[in-house]
């Protein structure tokens, strides 16, 4: 590093200069933003080493089980820094998402010691935790001997952090005082609106602000587009159809999947009058303006249709729009983002979230070393590196969201993204009731939704039948 650049980075590390100022200064010296991010990251790694014995597990190798994802790519891109910092080696297997969770279930249920840590979703830990496959990470997070004092656990967005913690009691509140931290949030997805600004502008459409507006705007967009359709939402026969836009809209009306009785027993709650009204509108929206092959749509089709200009908007994960707005997509640069609350009476959006997280295998034989990796990978330095130099959206740390360079990067190319996040982040959390039958119930919910959209069953009757079936399953499992 040349002296001038080095001086700037050191000034930044001493807190004498803002990150934005640093990037500008380095830019003036001919250093690109991405390179500047890497330089800062290198310096940050050096600074990290000053406060904590990162070399404690030098020579140890940890092995990771990872899903193919931009978060994984960002981690791998920064991995040499970790190796240099700790003297540890890291091996990993990366699997595509189609088979990833089967691989995790197979590895963990067999008690394999091969993997020390793995990527997971928070919902999955409702199985892995009680089954004894994942460690409660509180024992490391709150141990000053084992955790870097700069780790800043409280810097994690509260709704996201708490959504990864559960006491294991079916129906127990997420993030309660007695909750176990089954996983560490790594990156997360809010469910809001991403719309095609070109289509909206050309047809005089305004961005909907509630469910009625969404249904109407989707229909108008479909009529205006000729080919294509109004709104993209997921529809495959899977739990993954329920958790994004659908549950975010549902939760906006204060509706629950299950209720917890005074005796701790769970009961289905999806057949209330308000729920039925919500379902009616949702089903009508798909019938009138959804994808013709909606019942086979996963996140992939929802995203690619938006990027290809086939749908006018999506009510789904914000990061789908982020990636579809990038190069290689027909509508690159045309996508814009908006916060969305389905209920006009709600004070603010309350999106349900998907959290890609990191967890530690209970069968790991190198748990302390694995924690070294986990705290680095979920630490503020790597978060900032991923967000500024790679496509690590959405970061889970408040400090990263406060970073000027990151906000500038988003605002420059992703219209409304930062504002959308700022408005909906306070209400963003998992809205499901944590319990072991999560996947059974949500898959059946998706199948019921498919029947309603196909007009095989009326909404009222479908929800009553669903509630009856759910109650039966809860009872059979000793939960209801």
């Amino acid at each position: 590093m040349y002296e001038k650049e080095k001086g700037l980075v050191d000034a930044f590390m001493r807190g004498q200069m803002s990150r934005r100022g640093l990037i500008r200064g380095l830019g003036a010296l001919g250093v690109s933003t991405a390179t500047a991010g890497v330089l800062v990251n290198l310096a940050a790694t050096r600074a990290l080493a000053a406060d904590f014995d990162w070399k404690k597990h030098a020579g140890t190798t940890v092995k990771l089980l990872l899903n193919k994802h931009p978060y994984t790519d960002a981690m791998i891109a920064n991995l040499e820094n970790f190796k240099e910092l700790t003297g540890m080696d890291v091996q990993y297997d990366v699997f595509p998402e189609d088979v990833y969770f089967d691989k995790v279930t197979a590895a963990l249920s067999s008690g394999s010691t091969e993997y020390d840590a793995f990527m997971t979703g928070a919902y999955m830990t409702w199985t892995y935790g009680p089954a004894g496959w994942a460690e409660d990470l509180n024992q490391w997070i709150h141990d000053p001997e084992k955790t870097n004092p700069l780790y800043a656990w409280e810097d994690m967005l509260p709704g996201v952090r708490k959504s990864c913690a559960w006491n294991g009691v079916p129906g127990g509140a997420l993030g309660s005082d007695d909750a176990k931290q089954w996983c560490i949030p790594w990156g997360y997805e809010q469910n809001n609106l991403t719309y095609n600004k070109r289509v909206f502008d050309a047809n005089g459409l305004s961005v909907p602000t509630d469910l009625d507006g969404l249904v109407e705007t989707a229909a108008r967009a479909k009529a205006a587009m000729g080919s294509g359709y109004g709104v993209g939402v997921r529809g495959s026969r899977s739990w993954a159809t329920i958790h994004p836009g659908f549950l975010s809209g549902y939760a906006s009306f204060d509706q629950k999947d299950l209720t917890v009785g005074a005796d701790g027993k769970l009961a289905a709650a999806m057949n209330t009058d308000v729920s039925k009204e919500f379902h009616r509108k949702w089903v009508q929206m798909i019938q009138d303006s959804g994808a013709p092959d909606w019942s086979t749509h996963t996140w992939y089709q929802v995203g690619t249709d938006l990027g290809a200009g086939k749908s006018a908007m999506i009510f789904d994960a914000d990061i789908l729009g982020y990636f579809m707005n990038g190069p290689g997509n027909a509508e690159a640069g045309n996508l814009a983002f908006a916060p969305f609350k389905a209920n006009p009476a709600a004070a603010a959006p309350t999106p349900n979230i998907w959290i890609w997280s990191l967890a530690m295998s209970s069968f790991s034989t190198r748990k302390d070393a694995a924690w070294h990796f986990l705290q680095w990978a979920s630490g503020p330095e790597h978060g900032l590196f991923g967000a500024t130099a790679m496509d690590f959206v959405n970061p889970v740390r408040a400090s990263v969201w406060a970073d000027g360079a990151f906000r500038d990067k988003l605002s420059k190319s992703y219209s409304g993204y930062v504002e959308m996040h700022d408005v909906s982040a306070p209400g963003a959390s998992i809205k499901f009731t944590p319990q072991p039958l999560f996947f059974d119930l949500t898959t059946e919910w998706a199948a019921t939704l498919q029947k309603m959209v196909a007009r095989e069953v009326p909404v009222d009757e479908g929800l009553d039948r669903l509630a009856e079936s759910v109650n039966g399953q809860l009872k059979e499992a000793g939960l209801g």
Partner: protein
């Protein structure tokens, strides 16, 4: 000049011949088969044990033997009866269509010629495609936005034909994919059968001027029956256990239209982690397969005996 070197070999280690007593020999010879059986039986018996337990990976504390309760639950479970109905319908429709098509194609290609040989090789292509890949290929071809088949359907006035995403046409769509992949299997088996039939009865019938249809019903078909049974046995077993095509195309949907045994068992294990129910479903599938195999094999043996004149 030729020089011959003669050298006496150094005394090597004394060779001990491993002698196996006559009594041990049969056991040793059957040992590989025995080991294979054990390798098959251990997972099978484990699955039997799981099917008799209340066993959810997410509720390890509640794991207990409930003996036949998982099976008894099926009796009052509409999802199970739907699974049975869908699986049997799928197997029945695919096998019947594939047999008819396979037989028809085999009859057309029976005569040996360069063209027929070329066509029969070409027709084998779908069989060489992994069923899951074939399903993804068909999923693209039936995409309403850019799928060639959706486009062609539009040309004949079926613009809103939604293939696998419509409950009314989902079964038809996956059956078409299955037929596309597996008809060549039946075709090649029956073609081999047709070409191996003795020619004398056909020559005699030709000399007597017997109509072709009569020859087909009275000579060809009876002689081909062992081959038909073999092909049916393989296809029925595979069809009733179908997973890849259905899962890749619809994950068992829309609704519960395509929740065949394997899809239901897979989702129960990997998604719901309900090991007990998943194992019980697979045990029932095994029982159905076993029963069907028995029926087919007995009939096949009976026909073979008859063809040897022992009946």
């Amino acid at each position: 000049m030729t020089t011959t070197h003669t050298q006496s070999l150094p005394p090597g280690p004394r060779r001990h011949r491993f002698r196996v007593s006559r009594r041990m020999l049969p056991y040793l010879l059957s040992l590989p088969a025995l080991l294979t059986c054990i390798g098959i039986l251990i997972p099978f018996l484990t699955a039997v044990a799981y099917s008799l337990q209340r066993y959810r990976l997410s509720q390890p504390w509640a794991r207990q033997w409930n003996w036949g309760q998982n099976y008894l639950n099926f009796l009052s479970d509409p999802a199970f009866w739907n699974t049975l109905k869908v699986s049997v319908t799928y197997a029945l429709v695919t096998v019947v269509v594939e047999l008819l098509l396979g037989l028809g194609i085999a009859l057309l290609l029976q005569r040996r010629s360069r063209l027929n040989n070329f066509v029969s090789i070409m027709l084998l292509m779908p069989l060489m495609t992994a069923p899951a890949l074939a399903a993804l290929m068909w999923k693209l071809m039936t995409n309403p936005g850019f799928g060639i088949l959706s486009y062609l359907a539009g040309l004949i006035g079926l613009g809103d034909f939604r293939w696998a995403s419509d409950p009314q046409t989902a079964m038809l769509t996956v059956v078409i994919v299955d037929v596309w992949v597996y008809t060549p299997f039946i075709m090649i088996l029956l073609l081999a059968g047709l070409r191996s039939l003795p020619q004398q009865p056909f020559e005699a019938a030709a000399l007597d001027g017997v109509p072709r249809l009569f020859v087909f019903w009275r000579i060809t078909l009876p002689m081909l029956t062992p081959f038909l049974l073999t092909a049916t046995l393989f296809r029925v077993i595979e069809s009733i256990q179908q997973f890849d095509i259905i899962y890749a195309m619809t994950q068992g949907g829309p609704g519960d239209r395509l929740t065949v045994f394997q899809v239901e068992a897979y989702l129960n294990f990997f998604q719901s982690t309900n090991v007990g129910r998943s194992a019980a479903l697979l045990m029932i599938l095994w029982a159905i397969t076993y029963a069907l195999s028995n029926v087919f094999i007995k009939n096949w043996l009976r026909l073979r005996e008859r063809s040897r004149g022992n009946a």
